[in-house]
Amino acid sequence: MSDQAPRYYVPHTSYWPIVGAVSLFVAAFGAATFIHESTDFIAAESQYGEWVFYIGLIMIACMMFGWFKNVVSESVRGMMSGLMDVSYRQSMAWFIVSEVFFFGAFFGALFYARLWSVPWLAGAGNNLWTHTILHPNFADTWPLFLTPDGTQTQTMGPWGLPFINTLILVTSSVTVTFSHWALKKRDRIVAGAWLALTVGLGIVFLILQVAEYIHAFDDLGLTLGSGIYGSTFFMLTGFHGAHVTMGTIMLAVMLFRIFSGHFTPENHFAFEATSWYWHFVDVVWLFLFTFVYWF
């Protein structure tokens, strides 16, 4: 605890939370309306939802920029005590725990389908009559390339793009750590270089992921509508991709902050939080690679 910093800094009032609440509402309302207008069977009268949704997203981005800017300037002014630092650390850790459970729901769906619903539909357990009467030709395979209602798809093998992506993400977890070590040695140039490499790897990962999706759609006929295999495949890789996108943006902000000289070897929690998040998406990917692509 430094001498200047208060024991615990309690900001007096802030505009950002209410701006954030309004932004979230605009985005959520826009998203719901957008989905309605674009998927309704009856042609919608108006088409404003899409734009409301984008405006909401922009508002959220502005809110996050303003709020974080506020916090950064407090940190630079030395308002943060050691106690505050612990609060931030614990909060980030619990946030990642909540993310683990969010992915857990989708992994739960994947395991449920693989262990139970698909075998049951093929007559496993005491489901012989369900099988015989409803879907007599349905066979239990995983990846499921032929659904009970006859939708066909080809499956995504693990050893092409997915394996390259695995190598990319694992490498990026290493490079972000090198950047952290350099930062601790006050070596801003080296830290920035390693971090720039990390951001680059994140972007390459995302580009390859898009290429993989195009391959899935165009060549394999694998879409969200290809039964439970396509559903779990796109839901898990899609949410993971969204997290990688978020993580890449966070890393890019950290890169900017390194060059702005915000970080000292003692005080660079934002960097550490970002790297925790990055390691988290990396570990999620390893699970994805193992259970979605490989086995």
Partner: protein, 536 residues
Amino acid sequence: MVAHAEHIPHRSGLAAFLSRWLLTTNHKEIGSLYLWFAFSMFFVGGALAMGIRLELFMPGIQLIEPAFYNQLVTMHGLIMVFGAVMPAFVGLANWQIPLMIGAPDMALPRLNNFSFWILPFAFGMLLSSFFMEGGAPNFGWTFYAPLSTTYGPDSTDFFIFGVHLMGISSVLGAINIMVTIFNLRTPGMKLMEMPLFVWTWLITAFLLITAIPVLAGAVTMVLTDRHFGTSFFSADGGGDPVMFQHIFWFFGHPEVYIMILPGFGIASQIIPTFARKKLFGYNSMVYATASIAILSYVVWGHHMFTTGMPLAGELFFMFCTMLIAVPTGVKVFNWVATMWRGSMTFETPMLFAIAFVILFTIGGFSGLMLAMVPADFQYHDTYFVVAHFHYVLYPGAIFGTMAAVYYWLPKWSGHMVDEWWGKLHFWTAIVFVNLTFFPMHFSGLAGMPRRIVDYSHQFQDFNLVSSFGAMGLGLTQVLFLFIVIKTIRGGEPATDKVWESAEGLEWTVPSPAPLHTFETPPPWPINETETHEGAA
């Protein structure tokens, strides 16, 4: 020493009012916002319940179309769970946890404001669905697939995004509470010295952080099944509607404990004060609460015994569920043992706390009956289930909240509650709550199905009593509103300690508690020269 940012320019009138409540980072103000929000949602949800009970007053269809009845049932559940009970407990946590652990505020004050202000928008969106084409969600608060996927009304999407917003609010709020408890205790206060309310909230926050994201995943899958062609909950594509129930209840069972654990904490604060004895078995209370929380993750299947599950699964969930009776029994035993040979007085908070213990135990016992697979085959989806969960939620969660309000309102407002009015509220509430929900045990055991607008004539008498009780119970809560406002506006000034034998840091600050407390951490243990409580 706590530093505050430079004061914002002086404002007056509406601008001052808005900037105070919209921009506040103060845990007491945000706590009040949560409590008032919960209170207003309690009346909205209550009004929907009145609609349900009016329709069920007589067999046949009198007032409400069946389609609208389904919307009432759904929205009553959603609003009471997410809008009334949970925000009320978060409000109590906001007010009390920093006071009880000697913290200057919540750990992340701005995030605290954010967590709160998401809620009015989320519920605005949810309630607006009543006015949409096709009406509000009508599939029950559990939104089972395919009712919410294939057959859900258009407003389901607004419900889904509303749930996402509530989820963000809950998770951020829970993270804040968790970090406050772990990080901002006054130096020297060990975890095993924290007041029980703080302990139960710590465990509740853990449940929130881990359960709510699963709900977010579930609604997301409902959304993609509805609009993006996925088949998570459709057997045609290799998924399974039963999978929805598994995922939902994996969230849902921890969720029901989220709605009761803080109530356990409240009872554990109030009973020692008015029994003038230390809480019996503090350690076992903590361990019991933790055991209940851990077990809550492995009992979700008991909501689905009749859905269909391998026999091994039914047995596993049955035994795990029954196991919960052990730590719960420990808690009830401890509360009773705390009162044993205490010099008890029966002020309003104590009355509510005792009613909590007794009536919650009734709800616990009916839960034990429902845990038995063969018996549940008979009880499932009858009014017996409705009686069970209303006994744990109304005299449990809601009486717990009311006990807490009566207990701490003098500290918040600086005025004692008028005991005459408080006791009137208590005795009317206790009569009407039993009148409303006790007959449901009988109608349920006799086979009356739940969530259905009409019923067979043989259930008429029970329903008449229930509906009569419900109207009275609704009116009783208007009395509660009156009492709260009356106490805030005036009354006998409260002393700092408020209650003769109250213990804890919150009683060392003045009444009403000033906006900022414990800017320097208070000494711990509290150095009271005239220690006398709890001595045998």
